[in-house]
């Protein structure tokens, strides 16, 4: 029992100290009916580190990894190169095994890092402030809708058809219980998002407009008009960014008038990890800050006047407000926020812009290679690192066939919208600075073969 420091001698001596003759005496409050006298049946006994490692390595080997071959998946999770120093730092015990910084005198490391993270996120998003992170992009998105409801005291939210369908799905689930009304739609395979239709739906009961940027098909829509239209009706514009690297190349939602910007931060520092843990980003304007969910690190001074940081505005939170809290959330995604922040610090503005430029350039090359294949049609006029193509037939089986060849070709819209026949031929393809010309050639070649 390599993790249990008590020896049998310790146990005996300690039982004596507490006045118990056996350990069972300490479990007397458990009703007889629930007492287990031996170990739970059908479960294995303890195992050596060697055995556990071997077992898990075998499971791991049964997965085709993004590094094993050409890789073009996106749709809310992106593969970028994470410098080795990021993982080195987050493994320091002082970060990895620290608690939530409720005792600021001995948690300045975490607190200062969060303060830096908040500033980075706010600047990237073009918002005045940002919080210390959320679970992930999809939950951050829903929390933004709820927040807009609190701010506007309205319960009707309009979700753009370009919003990630999983995000829509999460919002739908929650709205069922909160009684919010959601207006949703399915995207059309057109070159530009349908901004005008969205604007038409805004009415006096609308709390917010939720728009993904770039959207699920990779399209980049100007949000300025949306912001104006929303504000004209005293509704908020919520922008959702699933690929923060894009903001190294295109305007920030804040610049275009978004009131709340949320996003998924996984692209930087965190890695794919089969979907989690990820890190939700959340920024908004200063005047909305007291309605913001989640933890916040703030600057202050200590008893000697030295600058320091604390968790602040916690009167919004559940441990103080209980049922009146802004959210039931009690955790941020601290270690992922740290990874995000370190990666961003390493990149700096120059590095982020270069990374974005390369990702975009590789996506352009990929698009060119694919549209050279007869029957393959590019949907987007504009895109960042991700675009949609229309195949001559259903995309799902094509993706599976390519996976069998070791090529992870993209995300079929059939996977994301199983009920929508009109989208079945759509394939969303993403590239990054890690994409190579060989990857692109292999993808184009493979696709050609499968379609033939």
């Amino acid at each position: 029992m390599r993790y249990l420091p008590l020896t049998n001698d310790d146990r005996q001596a300690m039982l004596a100290k507490v006045g118990a003759s056996t350990i069972d005496d300490l479990f007397v409050d458990v009703p007889e009916i629930a007492r287990l006298n031996g170990t739970i049946p059908d479960l294995p006994m303890h195992a050596s580190e060697m055995a556990v490692e071997r077992h898990l390595s075998k499971l791991a080997a049964r997965n085709l990894t993004a590094g094993d071959g050409p890789f073009f998946l996106g749709c809310g999770a992106y593969k970028h190169h994470v410098p080795a120093s990021v993982d080195h730092i987050i493994q320091r015990g002082e970060f990895l095994t620290a608690y939530t910084p409720y005792q600021p005198e001995i948690a300045q490391g975490t607190l200062q890092m969060l303060f830096e993270f908040q500033t980075q996120v706010a600047r990237l998003f073009g918002t005045e402030v940002a919080n210390a992170s959320m679970y992930d992009g999809s939950t951050a998105c829903w929390e933004a809708v709820v927040m807009a409801g609190r701010v506007t005291r309205r319960k009707r939210a309009i979700l753009s058809s370009g919003l990630h369908p999983h995000y829509v799905s999460v919002a739908n689930t929650m709205a069922k219980f909160t009684g919010d009304t959601l207006v949703t739609g399915t995207p059309a395979l057109t070159a530009e998002p349908d901004t005008d239709a969205l604007i038409e739906q805004i009415d006096d009961d609308t709390s917010c407009l939720v728009v993904q940027y770039p959207d699920i098909l990779g399209r980049i829509g100007d949000m300025t008009k949306l912001a104006e239209a929303a504000h004209a009706k005293k509704a908020l514009l919520i922008a959702v960014v699933t690929e923060p690297v894009a903001l190294g190349a295109i305007k920030s939602p804040g610049e275009m008038g978004a009131d709340i910007v949320v996003g998924e931060g996984q692209s930087l520092g965190v890695g794919l990890q089969f979907g989690g843990p990820y890190v939700g980003l959340f920024g908004c304007s200063q005047k909305l800050v007291r309605q913001m969910p989640g933890r916040l690190a703030g600057e202050t001074v200590d008893a000697e006047g030295k600058r320091g940081y604390v968790l602040t505005l916690s009167t919004r939170e559940q441990h103080i407000r209980r049922e009146k809290a802004t959210s039931n959330i009690c955790t941020n995604s601290g270690l992922c926020a740290l990874a995000f922040s370190i990666h961003m610090t390493l990149l700096g503005e120059a590095g982020l812009r270069r990374m974005a430029a390369l990702s975009h350039a590789m996506a352009c090359r990929t698009a060119d290679a694919l549209t050279n294949i007869p029957g393959v049609e590019l949907v987007n006029d504009h895109f960042f690192n991700e675009f949609t193509v229309k195949l001559p037939g259903e995309a799902r089986p094509v993706v599976r066939a390519l996976a069998d060849k070791g090529i992870l070709a993209g995300v079929s819209l059939g996977r994301l919208y199983p009920a929508e026949g009109a989208l079945a031929n759509g394939l969303v393809v993403a590239a990054s600075e890690m994409t190579t010309q060989e990857d692109i050639t292999a993808l184009a070649q493979g696709l050609k073969e499968v379609l033939a």
Binding site: A34, P104, Q112, M113, D222, Q273, K306, C330
Partner: protein
């Protein structure tokens, strides 16, 4: 040396990441190219490593010493877990890959799910909730979905006074009215009061067991029976499952839904505030209402049940809670921990956690008031501030512990005890470390009883003295701003 902010030492044209050089041609960004500066300073790798290494040293952590935070369960995080979570086969796969290409990952989720179901004696488990509070929400939503499915629109959830704040917050978020259940003077929920209150308007009773006073709810089975009889469901806050894992199965006590904080019971790292992971186990009655997606084992391999296939297999699911499949990285760590301990080791975990807590209770109850300290406690020992000198408080004791080299205990929680101090050592502390901690607490408490005013200034030897939280909240400074020229010139 004080550590500056990256905004004070970095600059926008410095980078610690090299990229392939050469011109980048063509742009299909449309007319939305970013032109204005973003304001993201960069540091080279040497500066970055040094900045964060220095910052880290201002933190306390489990790797440095005992973390006696009652109800937070700070235990050792095995390094094997970190190693296996980084296997490319788990860390470098995309959530939307074809399921044939991720059979190992789905297999791992299924294997962990199987452990959780068997350890709790329940019927099924939802793996996707991202943290404990998210798991609570998942449980309450399943209860609501089950009630709605039978056309039963109940509006009230009963929550004990001693509950974690997330319980009422969750119930309120899910649209319920929250009513408090009073505690007995023994520190447990009052069975009779629950029986009295139960009725056709009560959807659920949320119980924490072991509770936040560190006590096992003796009447749990009777409560469950009463709740079920009234047509409601029992939600159990499983934050303290670590105290009973391997010795008690919540399923045997009539629980309908319970979340499990993987970091508390199964040692995933706390990481300075997350990421967490809060799978929820369900009784048979709630199983049909569990959320999507989930993993199912069929003859031809593991399948992922998502929206598309839900109709067929899981028509009553209340829906999706997160974009993808949950906290895979935490699943890997938790399974590694669970396999390492096995059924026998996990039982020992509970026993040692409880033994350590009782050892602390009995080693300190002569100097500190233990309001519910007659019988044994479970995994944590609860004390009050009775006997502390006028003008000094629990807070002063806590801050003084920092100077003794320890993290403070949980303070002022649960709310049912005045000046509460809740101490949870966990099973991964040695007897020697406990003795050292007990000695430190005794010495501080004795000073507090003697009215040592110096305690009010503690900590003296930490990276910072007490911080002004009022100022922080009154005029929040949440992001760094370039100092104004005037200020800079001062």
């Amino acid at each position: 040396l004080e550590e500056s902010l990256i905004f004070e030492i970095g600059s926008n044209d410095v980078t610690g990441v090299d990229f392939p050089e050469g011109d980048v041609v063509g742009s299909r960004l449309g007319d939305l190219s970013r032109t204005s500066p973003i304001g993201l300073p960069g540091l080279t790798e040497p500066e970055t490593v040094r900045h964060y290494t220095r910052l880290s040293r201002q933190n306390y952590a489990i790797d440095l010493g005992l973390f006696p935070l009652g109800s937070c369960t700070m235990k050792h995080n095995p390094r094997l877990n970190e190693r296996v979570a980084r296997l490319p086969g788990f860390a470098d796969i995309h959530p939307l890959q074809p399921v044939d290409s991720v059979q190992g990952a789905l297999g791992l989720i299924h294997e962990l799910a199987d452990w959780l179901v068997k350890l709790t004696g329940m019927n099924s488990v939802a793996m996707s909730p991202k943290a404990g509070a998210h798991g609570e929400l998942c449980g309450i939503l399943a209860i609501r979905a089950a009630l709605e499915a039978r056309g039963d629109a109940r509006q009230v959830v009963l929550v004990p006074e001693s509950a974690h704040g997330t319980n009422p917050a969750t119930a309120a978020f899910a649209g319920y009215k929250v009513e408090a259940i009073p505690a007995t003077k023994e520190g447990r929920v009052d069975l009779e009061k629950i029986r009295e209150r139960l009725g056709p308007d009560v959807a659920s009773v949320m119980i924490t067991n072991p509770n936040t006073c560190g006590l096992f709810e003796r009447d749990m089975k009777a409560i469950s029976d009463a709740v079920h009889e009234a047509g409601a469901f029992v939600y159990c806050d499983g934050a303290n499952f670590n105290a009973i894992v391997g010795r008690v199965r919540p399923g045997d006590l009539g629980v309908d839904a319970m979340h499990i904080n993987l970091h508390k019971t199964f040692s995933t790292p706390h990481g300075g505030g997350g990421p967490g992971s809060g799978p929820v186990v369900f009784s048979e009655a709630l199983t049909p209402f569990a959320p999507l997606p989930f993993v199912e084992k069929r003859d031809d391999g593991f399948h992922l049940v998502e929206e598309e296939t839900a109709d067929e297999h899981h028509a009553h699911s209340f829906g999706r809670m997160v974009a993808f499949h949950g906290q895979m990285g935490m699943f890997t760590r938790a399974l590694s921990y669970i396999m390492s301990h096995g059924a026998d080791g996990l039982r020992q975990v509970a026993e040692d956690a409880v033994l350590n807590a009782n050892y602390i209770l009995r080693s300190l109850d002569d100097v500190l008031h233990a309001p519910f300290g007659k019988g044994p406690c479970m995994h944590e020992a609860l004390f009050g501030d009775a006997g502390i000198a006028e003008g000094l408080s629990t807070l002063d004791i806590a801050k003084a512990l920092i100077d003794e080299g320890f993290h403070p205990m949980t303070m002022y929680f649960p709310l049912v005890v005045h000046g509460a101090m809740l101490i949870e050592p966990t099973e991964t502390e040695s007897r020697a470390d406990l003795d050292q901690f007990i000695g430190a607490v005794r010495s501080v408490v004795e000073r507090a009883k003697a009215g040592d005013e110096r305690l009010k200034g503690a900590p003296y030897y930490a990276p910072r003295r007490r911080l002004d939280e009022t100022q922080a909240a009154r005029k929040p400074v949440l992001v760094w701003n370039e100092p104004e020229p005037a200020a800079a010139a001062e």
